[in-house]
Symmetry: C2
Subunit: 75 residues, 2 copies
């Protein structure tokens, strides 16, 4: 997912913050979530900071890795 020319959507920020909150609430490191999701830990850190226009497949993979339903990660 290349850096998007558009300004970050509100939803990107919501998902990033929720991902960080839920990850920390479960005492998971970025490396733990990387291992569970198959994604790169630095990419996950960028997602948490709202820097990436994450695709729906990776939203699914990260939600599963954290153990929270995807729709709850967008509220």
């Amino acid at each position: 997912m290349a850096h998007s020319p558009n300004p970050p959507s509100a939803l990107r920020i919501v998902f990033g913050q929720r991902l960080r909150e839920e990850r920390r609430a479960r005492n998971l490191t970025l490396e733990d979530v990387a291992e569970r999701s198959g994604l790169n830990w630095s990419y996950i850190a960028q997602i948490e900071r709202g820097e990436r226009n994450i695709g729906i497949d990776n939203i699914d993979a990260l939600s599963r890795a954290i153990g929270v339903e995807a729709h709850l990660m967008l509220q």
Copy 2:
């Protein structure tokens, strides 16, 4: 968003079907949603068929275009 090499995630299918249901429930055509969202109607049709790894910014744009909160579009 190029065609993704990975198999479509379950979430992709959920969002596509929900988008089609909500669009039709409001008697909106693909062209209507394209105009509201600024996205191409044929891209939206591919999203509805689960053929694209849609980015979170476009999930936000399409949810706003339909008038349904994004998290509800993923249930």
